[in-house]
């Protein structure tokens, strides 16, 4: 569901005037492939139009250069009525996108939240620089961020989130609003839980399978992307060396009479062949980005599985706790000590308690049992809710993944076809030139 990349131009600060052609382009970018049933996107178009560099002081009071991205929104109705008003817009930097995503992860733990594009360029082939300031990287990130927003806006649950809406529409004060929700505390405990080691006795089998799948997917897609980058590197080498033919043919044609013309024109075709690889590989980079998105999705999948484990674990703990309390009550009532407890030992050693003491204890226990049963009921509901909502979202994710990746694979095959066509053309032309030699 990647939108087409827009222009790479860096705008002058404050200038949001777009020509009608650019607006047209923005509309096309966002209208394509939007799921019709999403409520937010029915109402508004969203695009990440441009990127710009800013300087400022960071948290440790040092000067830094960072990139900001222009988010533009426009109500859908306005367009369909034939009038094209200027979009509303604001600037956001990458860290704000990260904050938004963290907030959503914490607030909707049962949702497979779309990933952000890479913070730093990784798995690149040699031509692409790993520099965050590189314009090509910035451009690809812009496209990735737009895709991220569109994913959120088309998600049935997330699109209704208020914080998300404000992120899109109000530049100032948004950050404070996020922190006011108190999500930070939840985020911290979530992080702790994610990293904690615990054993779940009865996890839902589907989640266990999903975890295996996401591990496999991550491993295989990373490997695929690495090898693809190497293949791209080699292909680049092959094409570019042919450029040398162009140079030598041209020089050679100068000393030949009969062969001169043929050689000269063949040389031009060799130059064209060498140059054609740049576009080819740029298109392939787009394909790689589509795969990368799903590579990063595996992290979100794992997070949901983890959350299930946590919920299940808490339920099991609560049930265990309840069971032990019930047992304690039984022991107290029947007077038999089945389990070892310090109290039991001391009472054996130092004599039985009085009936009053026993009664008091019993009452406490019954209270605890009541609370415990409430807790278990609550946890049970929570767990069931979670499993239900999470699984709906996971099915939704699976369908989306199958659709998107199918399309990506087909488009990859089409890219290869296009490369073949170009190759056939160049070498047929070269053949004609050689014939004239």
């Amino acid at each position: 569901m990647m939108a087409d990349s827009g222009s790479e131009e860096i705008a002058v600060i404050g200038n949001t005037d777009l020509t009608s052609a650019e607006l047209e382009n923005n509309i096309k970018n966002t209208m394509v492939e939007i799921e019709k049933w999403t409520s937010l996107l029915r109402k508004m178009e969203i695009s990440v139009g441009e990127a710009e560099k800013r300087t400022g002081k960071n948290t440790v009071n040092m000067q830094e250069i960072y990139t900001v991205y222009l988010i533009e929104t426009r109500p859908v109705d306005a367009v369909t009525e034939g009038i094209i008003p200027a979009p509303d817009s604001l600037w956001r930097r990458y860290s704000e996108f990260e904050l938004l995503r963290n907030y959503l992860l914490v607030t909707y733990p049962f949702v497979v939240v779309a990933p952000l594009p890479e913070k730093r360029a990784e798995i690149v082939w040699h031509k692409l620089s790993a520099d965050n300031m590189d314009p090509d990287f910035v451009e690809r990130r812009r496209v990735g961020l737009e895709n991220f927003l569109l994913r959120l806006a088309s998600h049935p649950v997330l699109c209704n989130d208020k914080i998300f809406y404000i992120f899109l529409t109000e530049e100032k004060g948004w950050k404070e609003m996020v922190y006011e929700t108190g999500f930070q505390a939840k985020a911290d405990s979530r992080l702790k839980a994610m990293n904690a080691a615990f054993r779940v006795k009865n996890p839902d089998k589907r989640f266990t399978e999903l975890k295996h799948y996401s591990d496999e997917l991550q491993a295989v897609v990373s490997q695929l992307l690495r090898v693809r980058a190497r293949v791209a590197d080699r292909l680049y080498g092959v094409y570019k060396v042919h450029g040398n033919y162009g140079r030598v043919f041209s020089e050679w044609s100068a000393i030949e009479k009969e062969m001169g013309d043929g050689l000269q024109s063949a040389g031009h075709h060799m130059d064209a062949y060498a140059a054609s690889v740049d576009d080819i590989l740029e298109e392939e980079e787009h394909y790689a980005d589509q795969l990368k998105e799903y590579l990063f999705y595996t992290e979100a999948l794992r997070a949901v599985c983890r959350k299930h484990e946590l919920t299940q674990f808490e339920l099991e703990m609560a049930a265990q706790d309840l069971a032990s309390k019930k047992q304690q009550k039984e022991e107290l009532v029947t007077g038999t000590v089945r389990t070892f407890s310090l109290k039991g030992m001391t009472s054996k050693l130092f004599g039985q308690e009085t009936a009053e003491q026993r009664e008091a204890k019993l009452q406490v226990l019954e209270q605890q049992i009541e609370e415990g049963e409430e807790a278990v009921k609550e946890k049970n509901t929570e767990s069931d809710e979670f499993v239900k909502t999470a699984w709906i979202d996971i099915e939704h994710f699976k369908d989306q993944k199958d659709r998107d990746l199918k399309e990506a694979l087909i488009s990859y095959a089409i890219m290869q076809i296009s490369r073949c066509k170009k190759g056939i053309q160049v070498w047929t032309n070269a053949k004609e030139c050689f014939n004239k030699m």
Partner: protein, 454 residues
């Protein structure tokens, strides 16, 4: 690089087209020589019709077509080099090749010969031809040892490449109007192994060869003074051509290298899609489809690299060697002219000596010894006159040699340029065709895949 013996042709030349000087003069009439020449002229005019073309087996005709198509109708000699065999002796291991000749030429006793020759024998033949015809362009032999890329001399590809080059070498000689008449060539094609060994031992002795080489070196040091413009032009062309063809050789080898590395990566790439398909349900078919496409790309790339290595690389390499041959030929021509110029200078000096009237040491000596000064001077004059006459004779012969050498080179130069154009055009054409084929095949495969599984 094959060694060329930079010797000067010995002065036992006749005024007709010189035969080679291996000690056994060719039993040819002038007429036969001219006939051979006129055959070539006929060919050049495009008038090809020789009713005495022998019936040859299919493979022969194919080899013939592989060579020079236009002349195939009037070819009267067909040579193939094939069937490499390894021979192991106590001292060494070497490869021999079968040389099969079918011919209707009258100078051959039989119409068919089958002999086995090793690389050394080809080297010997080349040396003999260059000795006898120092300004004709002899097609190069494949190199003695290959420096880069190949370790074993007996590696299958190396032998095959060498075989093809040896085949081309002999056929080029067979096509040459003058070289193909060489007695050494005939012996090479027809003699049994022991006969050849005996034959090789004949010919000018080691010392006379030494003398020739020393003279040649001396001449090359002096240099030529009045080189005709056209040969300077040829030399400049050869310099440039040598550079260009060397570059093309390097570029092509680089392409082969890059393609091979690309292929290596591709071989790893396809399987990752197959691996992935194992984890998927809906996507499995598409993933396998892409894996299949990549596999197909591997196959086609492998074929294409093979074609490049078999077709373009050897031809470019051959012409790198040709360029060196041309340089040597030009040098030899210069040497011949230099020798001629040197002798002319010697003549001029002698004439000056003779015409000197004034008293000299001889006159003084003569008078001291009691000789009649007039008589002494007269004796001296006679001696010098004799020497001058000798020189004049030598100079005449050298002049003829220079003229013949120049004409031979000029004639061969045209032939060589035509061959070069033909060879290189055909090699590049074939490469371009293969590349089109590569992309077409891959295109069709992907197309089918898209309709089937993608």
């Amino acid at each position: 690089m094959s060694r060329t013996i930079d010797a000067v042709v010995s002065p036992t030349q006749t005024n007709t087209i010189p035969a080679d000087i291996s000690g056994q003069m060719l039993d040819l009439d002038e007429d036969d020589d001219l006939e051979v020449f006129s055959k070539d002229l006929t060919l050049a005019d495009g008038n090809m019709f020789n009713a005495s073309m022998p019936t040859s087996p299919g493979s022969m005709v194919n080899q013939c077509k592989f060579e020079e198509d236009e002349e195939s109708d009037s070819k009267d000699i067909f040579i193939t080099v094939d069937n490499p065999e390894s021979h192991v002796t106590a001292i060494e291991t070497f490869i021999t090749y079968r040389v099969l000749t079918k011919t209707t030429r009258s100078e051959f006793d039989n119409s068919e010969y089958e002999v086995r020759r090793r690389y050394q024998d080809f080297l010997w033949l080349k040396g003999k031809l260059e000795d006898a015809h120092s300004t004709l362009i002899v097609h190069p032999l494949p190199e003695k040892f290959v420096v880069k890329g190949m370790v074993e001399r007996f590696n299958g590809d190396f032998i095959e490449t060498r075989r093809k080059a040896l085949h081309k070498f002999l056929n080029r000689i067979a096509d040459h109007p003058i070289l193909s008449c060489s007695e050494d060539f005939k012996v090479f094609l027809s003699a049994q192994a022991w006969e050849l060994t005996t034959y090789k031992k004949q010919g000018p002795g080691f010392l006379s060869r030494m003398g020739e080489t020393v003279r040649a070196v001396a001449n090359s040091v002096r240099g030529v003074k009045n080189r005709p413009e056209e040969f300077t032009a040829i030399q400049e062309y050869v310099e440039d051509f040598s550079n260009k063809i060397g570059s093309l050789d390097k570029v092509t080898q680089r392409i082969v290298k890059e393609q091979k590395e690309y292929l290596e990566e591709l071989k790893e790439y396809g399987p990752t899609y197959t691996l992935w398909s194992g984890s998927e349900e809906e996507l499995a078919e598409q993933l396998k489809g892409v894996a299949g496409c990549i596999e197909r790309c591997c196959k086609e790339t492998e074929e294409q690299v093979g074609h490049l290595s078999d077709t373009l690389v050897p031809v470019l390499h051959e012409y790198v060697l040709c360029a060196e041959t041309l340089k040597a030929v030009l040098r030899r021509r210069d040497n011949i002219q230099a020798e001629f110029e040197a002798k002319n200078e010697a003549l001029a000096t002698k004439k000056v000596d003779r015409d000197a009237e004034s008293s000299d040491l001889g006159f003084v000596w003569g008078s001291l010894l009691g000789k009649n000064p007039e008589e002494a001077r007269h004796q001296r004059q006679e001696r010098l006159d004799g020497e001058i006459e000798e020189l004049k004779e030598e100079i005449d012969k050298l002049e003829d040699r220079v003229e013949w050498a120049n004409n031979a080179l000029k004639g061969d130069w045209g032939r060589w340029q035509r061959s070069m154009r033909g060879d290189l055009k055909s090699a590049f054409l074939s490469t371009a065709e293969k590349n089109v084929d590569y992309y077409e095949k891959y295109f069709i495969f992907i197309h089918t895949q898209i309709t089937v599984s993608l």
